[in-house]
Symmetry: C2
Amino acid sequence: MDSIDIEILKLLQKNARVTASEIASEVSLSVPAISERIKKLDSSGIIQKYTIILSTQKMNKNLVAYMFISLKHPNYIEGFVELVENENEIIECDYLAGDYDYLIKIITKDTKSLEAVLNRIKTVTGVQKTKTIVTLSTVKNTYSILPYEDTNM
Amino acid sequence: MDSIDIEILKLLQKNARVTASEIASEVSLSVPAISERIKKLDSSGIIQKYTIILSTQKMNKNLVAYMFISLKHPNYIEGFVELVENENEIIECDYLAGDYDYLIKIITKDTKSLEAVLNRIKTVTGVQKTKTIVTLSTVKNTYSILPYEDTNM
DNA sequence: CTTGAAAAAGCGAGGGA
DNA sequence: TCCCTCGCTTTTTCAAG
């Protein structure tokens, strides 16, 4: 991965549908050279996925909340994770070190739909303790890590 | 937005570089019909952006942490937000209702680089109290809300 | 929404620094 | 190895119905 790859990744992150021709003229290489580099970035797994981000506002999902969850026992992980995977309004779920076991991010329509999700979570077998935090606004969201060269490896 | 648009959004979310031809054969419409629908989903803002998700592992960013932050006074918001925007390793930042003012998500290389980020945050003028939580593993991350029809609007 | 032709983009082979 | 150019195929765009 050199600085040209970084530049390609930046352009794809800004717009994943940018054509190889456009990238080629940006970085002053031929189209096949760009295609070849993208193919390598793909197959090496550096590019995990090409995706679209949907507007929460346009989709009427204006309520963002975080919920901390503790389970009674690791036995209950499997059932809990299954629920997490099936709930479309749970966007993220991390397993934590510390007081609580999990942190999930929920994006939903309003307080009523949030209540419904929270209740489904709280009634999963093994869920012991929860704490919910509602967000007022989102200051930053880059969705992915940014591409840059690692200077201290 | 009808069920065909939903289908298009799902396919784009799975792979934002899928061709209109492929979508067309999936949903049994002509290529121009698909292009026209995508153009509308674009210009209406429903599709917020086409982007790539980079592999944290391949980019050597294997440490995910959350940090809660309280400011002494709303006067300090501007300076804090500026730092947040400039720190590449801060992926998300939400303004909260509750005990703390902000929750940020940090993705970085290791504990050493995390320490560096945390110290930069803690030394921003007006930062009063912080609490950091390290994640052990990521259970789920969809990056965007999912496209589906709203049945109760 | 469709079809069909023109324009653009992408792909693969062969060869050069 | 990485890059180029050239010719061919696929995709996109646009006009007309």
